[in-house]
């Protein structure tokens, strides 16, 4: 059972990682393309800035979910480490409850925002604004899922391998 869940998590993680790396690659490509079109071809492209920003925000939300799996969001551990194990266990429970409530409230708020803005279009290119607004509910749902996986699988803090 645990192995199955671990496999499922790894599969989801892989998809998320491919998503964020392609998003970032597209941003690099779009920015360079804009330079070429504006400076060399003298015909700036209207949609580049907005599409890049949409990709950027999606990357942030999905990337934040990846970071939950790796337990890599900034935190301050020095104080808790000084407590005895019982208090550490207790704070751990409190932290998990608080983190989960935050993430769940943002899923709700994100969905409500999505519904509220339904039918609107983006300011520069006129694409449906839902494309952007879906990022928060989707990103935070994935975050909630990884939080749950972390509890079940007792995931350990992993270094984000940036060198």
């Amino acid at each position: 059972m645990i192995e199955k869940i671990r496999k499922l998590e790894q599969r989801i993680l892989k998809l998320e990682e491919w998503f964020i790396l392609i998003a970032l690659a597209c941003i690099v490509f779009f920015q360079i393309m804009q330079v070429v079109f504006r400076y060399i071809l003298s015909s700036p492209i209207g949609w580049v800035d907005e599409y890049s920003r949409f990709l950027f925000i999606w990357m942030i939300m999905i990337g934040s979910a990846v970071a939950v799996q790796k337990i890599a969001h900034f935190n301050v551990e020095f104080l808790v480490e000084k407590f005895n194990l019982r208090i550490q266990w207790l704070t751990n429970v409190v932290v998990t409850i608080l983190s989960s409530s935050f993430v769940i409230i943002l899923i709700v708020a994100g969905f409500r925002y999505l519904v509220d803005m339904k039918g609107k279009v983006s300011s520069a290119t006129g694409v449906p604004i839902e494309i952007l607004n879906f990022a928060i509910p989707v990103g935070f749902t994935l975050m909630a899922m990884h939080l749950l996986f972390n509890i079940i699988l007792k995931n350990k803090k992993e270094e984000l391998p940036v060198e």
Binding site: R38, S42, P44, G46, E50, D116, S123, A124, G126
Partner: protein, 316 residues
């Protein structure tokens, strides 16, 4: 706490209401000055202190679009968004060049039956009541190197435009290379030649210091659109009728004052710009621009052609 919220407190007669007003303009721009001056003072005075008014200028609480959303959700009570065409597509007509050449042209349509139907659409889209339509000044094109004296001078120039879809068609139609950029990036992009020019009203051009990096200000009269003053409908309906009346009266007077003040300020700003050594080009061949205007009106897919015809017919 920080005083009572819009829901009010105390017994019925002396109940106080906090009105939070969000605006996107800097101090010195007529809407900002009227809101933080006349509107705030008169609302508090005429209500005998039942209104407590807090004015947040300069996009402190968000962009104009975001302030509109905050009014819609009841977080703020009042905001002043520039013709929000992303919510009410029909408002795109306000961004057509030379359709409203003078302030009189603009107010005749806006205050008339066509304006009323636009107002109704906006109210339905935003859970709000429109308290008036204010001026944003007349926008002119300014440039870095090349002087714009007639429309051919625009050929091939990279002009920054606001992030509104119809404006891409407008500036393409005038022969320029429209480059949509956020307002906050304009100064830097002019410095580094990412764009060769942009457009603004004299007050914005002066307040944002654009003359430091783009010294040619051509009186081209390109755009002339209004901004809406909206109040959250639920909040407005929750007020006793005497307080509703005070709001209606104060904003009716504020609208006249704001429109007049913008006319004065545009003139005095142009004079001030000349003193600062700005090359103000007043003998622009506007006819050459206007010749290209009609194809733009007719050619843009963002424009409701029936509405356009209605506006043109209302002038005959």
């Amino acid at each position: 706490g920080c005083g009572s919220e819009a829901s009010g407190s105390g017994d019925k007669d002396s109940k106080t209401y906090t009105i939070k007003i969000g605006n996107g303009n800097p101090v010195g721009e007529p809407s900002a000055d009227i809101l933080d001056g006349f509107v705030k003072e008169e609302l508090e005075k005429r209500s005998d202190g039942q209104f407590k008014v807090q004015v947040y200028l300069n996009s402190q609480l968000g962009s104009e679009t975001e302030l509109l959303e905050q009014v819609k959700s009841g977080t703020l009570q009042i905001a002043t968004p520039s013709a929000p065409s992303y919510l009410v597509p029909d408002l795109s007509v306000y961004f057509l060049p030379y359709l409203f050449e003078t302030q009189d042209d603009l107010w005749k349509v806006t205050d008339g039956p066509i304006g009323q139907s636009l107002t109704k659409q906006l109210e339905e889209q935003t859970n709000s009541k429109v308290l008036g339509w204010w001026s944003t000044g007349i926008r002119h094109i300014f440039s870095k190197e090349r002087e714009i004296r007639q429309v051919d001078d625009l050929k091939g120039m990279k002009i920054r435009v606001m992030e509104i879809p119809v404006l891409m068609d407008v500036f393409k139609g005038l022969g320029a290379l429209p480059t949509p950029l956020p307002y906050s990036d304009v100064y830097g992009s002019l410095t580094t030649n990412v764009v060769d020019g942009a457009d603004n009203d004299p007050s914005g051009y002066k307040n944002m210091k654009f003359y430091e990096v783009a010294n040619n200000f051509s009186i081209s009269n390109t755009l002339n659109y209004p901004k809406a003053v909206i109040i959250n409908e639920e909040f407005y309906n929750s007020l006793p009728s005497d307080l509703q009346k005070i709001i209606d009266e104060v904003f009716a007077e504020a609208q006249e004052k704001q429109r007049d003040l913008f006319m004065e300020v545009m003139d005095s700003d142009i004079a001030e710009l000349k003193d600062k050594g700005v090359n103000v080009i007043e003998d622009v061949d506007i006819e050459s621009f206007k010749e290209l205007a009609e194809p733009i009106w007719r050619g843009s897919k963002d424009i409701n052609q029936d509405l356009l015809n209605e506006i043109l017919e209302s002038r005959n």
